[in-house]
């Protein structure tokens, strides 16, 4: 069982993702913008973060950079989600230390699979 932070401005997607991950036995918390995501990451110390890139208050890439700069979260795996297929976004996300990249519209099975892979390869804190 791991603690997963979902940062996603679309409430419905956040809820569906959380439900899916809880159904496979993970603990989840949700933030709806970049700023909230950074605060939640500091407070909850998640084992993994799922981060939307396009958000109204503070985009995902900036938020990820902040989270990485927090000592306790430096090594946390981050999965980026975006509706944009702009290759530039992808490059920026990789530069910000993306562990994986999932394009919208995604299928939850894909997300769950990616989460499991990342959690197994990362030593649990």
């Amino acid at each position: 069982m791991s603690r997963i932070l979902i940062v996603e401005d679309d409430q419905k997607i956040a809820i569906s993702l959380a439900a899916r991950l809880r159904s496979v036995g993970h603990e989840t918390c949700v933030a709806y913008d970049g700023v909230g995501g950074v605060m939640a990451a500091a407070k909850e110390k998640p084992d993994l973060i799922i981060m939307d890139i396009n958000m109204p208050a503070g985009n995902g890439i900036t938020a990820a950079e902040r989270i990485r700069s927090l000592g306790s979260n430096a090594g946390v795996p981050i999965i980026f989600i975006t509706a944009s297929s702009d290759p530039e976004h992808r490059q920026l996300a990789e530069a910000a230390g993306a562990s994986a990249f999932i394009a919208k519209p995604f299928q939850s099975e894909e997300v769950v699979r990616t989460v499991e892979v990342l959690l197994q390869s990362t030593p649990t804190m």
Partner: protein, 599 residues
């Protein structure tokens, strides 16, 4: 006010043509002026030459007159007495040779005491009513009054034209006497001022040339025994000179006497009473035999060739109109091109806006679609709780619709990417055989539902190609999807991957079905964007059509981007085969292990 604006607009549009028109007209004017000036100059020099020729002819005529009269003096010098017959015999050949000479005469100096003797002698020569005569003021010739010395015309040749002058006492006329006295005092050939001949019924101007003849014994004696006289009718020599020289202008000749000027000749004037030449262009004075003759030339005629000038102007006007038209048409073309360009730019901008809109819209559609599909999936997986069989079936329908929507959105995005040139491949070295093997399992599910047989004719390995695996899968998935859609239940679909031929350099991938087939007419269009096979006007009547009509066009563009080619073979009612090629990666004809797999 709008009129003024319109005028200004049309003026500004026509500015260049008008300038062109004016320039050509200006150039024509300058050319015509230059041509005129050149013509005038050449004409003037021609005229001057003709004038010089006239002067030459007249001087020559006077010079020969002088020579002829001198020869008479020489004749007299050699003989104390010359008979009337001898005079005629001597002068005849001289007159024959010089037709411009009007007459040659012998004028003796006769003292009153010898008057009767001379008159008798003349009558003896056959001139029965000969007498010394003089002219009255009314012009009649009468017997000369008594005076100390007479200078009568005694011999005159030719006699016929000078008959009336014979006997006329030249001393009775002041002008003639003046010339005679001048000749006597200088001893030289002396020309008289112009006189009216007594022998001519019409008053004709003539000039007389006198040379004094002395007695042979005493050459130094003061009084000559007589005078040799030559006369020329001025109008004759002037007219002949003008004709010969082809003088193209008026000529007036004036005798410049000491006291008064006398008109010698005026061209084109029958009467002597003519006004002086207006605007004389040249004035030349010639001194001959003691007199000065002034020649005045008038303005020449026909200085301008109006025909040629007119021709130049017509040519210039035509040329300027042509240039005007040319420039105007060109200007209009420029304006039209400009308008077309702006319309084109506007359309391009509009097209870009629409593309941007589609791109944005497609993205925005994705998020709600994702959550719709996710919640459906959660319900199907019974995460919130159990669902009954009917609920499960409905949820599946929702999920299928979501999947279809997802595909359409992705197609639309691909099209906008292709339009903006943003569809970038992420190529890797990969083996299509291995890549596509996975797809069979996924597709088999949807085939099973329709009782379709999906045959996989894929070898273990084919060849390494440099391709975007996702895009390659997209093409095959699209072709398989179409095959499933258009093949009736119970049909067969074959996915085939063929390694390159021994000498070939591409892998061929084909999807064959036993479906409805595509007519020849439709085959040409299937790869066109937005083309859908429609009923009933198509040969493919009865075929359902769904989707956006983008799939095959995207497939084609993706294959072309990879440097391959795509084609279709089909027979109505028998099935279709879609086939595309992907070039083998350079230096990788043989299968080599995949070098990377990024996660």
């Amino acid at each position: 006010m709008p009129h003024v604006v319109n005028l200004a607009v049309s003026l500004s549009r026509n500015l260049r043509p008008i300038i062109g028109l004016l320039l050509i007209l200006g150039a024509t004017h300058l050319f015509a002026r230059a041509y005129n000036a050149a013509e005038k100059q050449s004409h003037e020099s021609e005229v001057e030459l003709a004038q010089d020729r006239v002067l030459g002819y007249i001087s020559r005529d006077l010079a020969t007159l002088t020579e002829v009269v001198r020869s008479i003096r020489a004749f007299y010098d050699g003989s104390e007495f010359v008979s009337r017959e001898e005079f005629a015999l001597f002068t005849q050949p001289l007159l024959d040779a010089n037709p411009h000479i009007g007459g040659l005469e012998w004028v003796p100096v006769v003292p009153h005491s010898e008057r009767r003797k001379y008159e008798r002698e003349a009558r003896r020569d056959g001139l029965l009513d000969f007498t010394f005569t003089e002219k009255l003021e009314d012009g009649r010739l009468v017997e000369a009054t008594e005076r100390e010395l007479y200078m009568p015309v005694f011999y005159a040749h030719p006699y016929e034209s000078n008959q009336k002058a014979v006997g006329y006492d030249l001393a009775s006329c002041p002008i003639r006497r003046h010339a005679i006295e001048e000749a006597a005092s200088t001893g030289k050939a002396t020309l008289s001022a112009p006189i009216s001949l007594v022998q001519d019924s019409n008053p004709t101007l003539a000039a007389l040339l006198f040379i004094p003849i002395y007695h042979a014994a005493d050459r130094e004696q003061e009084t000559p025994r007589g005078f040799a006289l030559g006369l020329i009718r001025l109008s004759d020599i002037f007219a002949a000179g003008i004709t010969q020289a082809e003088l193209p202008c008026e000529l007036q000749a004036t005798d410049l006497g000491v006291d008064e000027e006398a008109l010698l000749f005026r061209s084109g004037a029958a009467s002597v009473d003519v006004p002086p030449l207006v605007k004389p262009t040249r004035r030349i004075v010639i001194d001959l035999a003691g007199r000065s003759w002034e020649f005045t030339f008038g303005a020449s005629r026909d200085t301008i060739s109006h025909g040629r000038l007119l021709f130049i102007w017509i040519l210039g006007a035509l040329l300027s109109v042509l240039v005007y038209e040319y420039l105007r048409v060109r200007e209009e073309a420029v304006i039209r091109n400009h308008a077309l360009q702006s319309a084109h730019d506007a359309l391009c901008e509009r097209s870009r806006e629409i593309t941007r809109f589609y791109h944005m819209a497609s993205h925005e559609l994705k998020t709600p679609l994702t959550s719709a599909r996710e919640f459906t999936a959660l319900l199907l997986d019974e995460v919130p709780g159990e669902v009954n069989d009917e609920q499960r079936q409905f949820l599946r329908y929702i999920r299928e619709s979501c999947d279809l929507l997802t595909r359409y959105i992705n197609d639309m995005l691909d099209v906008t990417r292709l339009d903006t040139g943003k569809l970038s491949l992420r190529p890797k070295l990969c083996d299509p055989a291995i890549l596509l093997e996975d797809m069979i399992a996924v597709m088999r599910k949807s085939c099973a539902a329709r009782d379709l047989e999906l045959v996989s004719a894929i070898p273990q390995t084919s060849a390494m190609v440099y391709a975007d695996p996702q895009r390659l899968k997209q093409v095959v998935s699209n072709l398989l999807g179409n095959a499933i859609k258009f093949t009736p239940d119970g049909g067969r679909i074959t996915l085939r991957v063929e390694p390159p031929h021994p000498r070939g350099n591409h892998v061929t991938i084909s999807v064959e079905d036993t479906g409805v087939g595509i007519s020849a007419r439709c085959r040409e269009k299937v790869f066109k964007r937005l083309y859908q096979v429609h009923a009933p006007d198509d040969d493919n009547a009865g075929c359902c059509s769904e989707g956006l009509g983008l799939g095959l066009s995207i497939c084609k563009e993706i294959v072309l981007l990879h440097g391959g080619d795509i084609s279709v073979e089909s027979e109505l009612g028998r099935g279709s085969t879609f086939k595309f090629t992907i070039p083998v990666a350079a230096g990788a004809r043989r299968p080599i292990p995949s070098m990377e797999e990024v996660t």
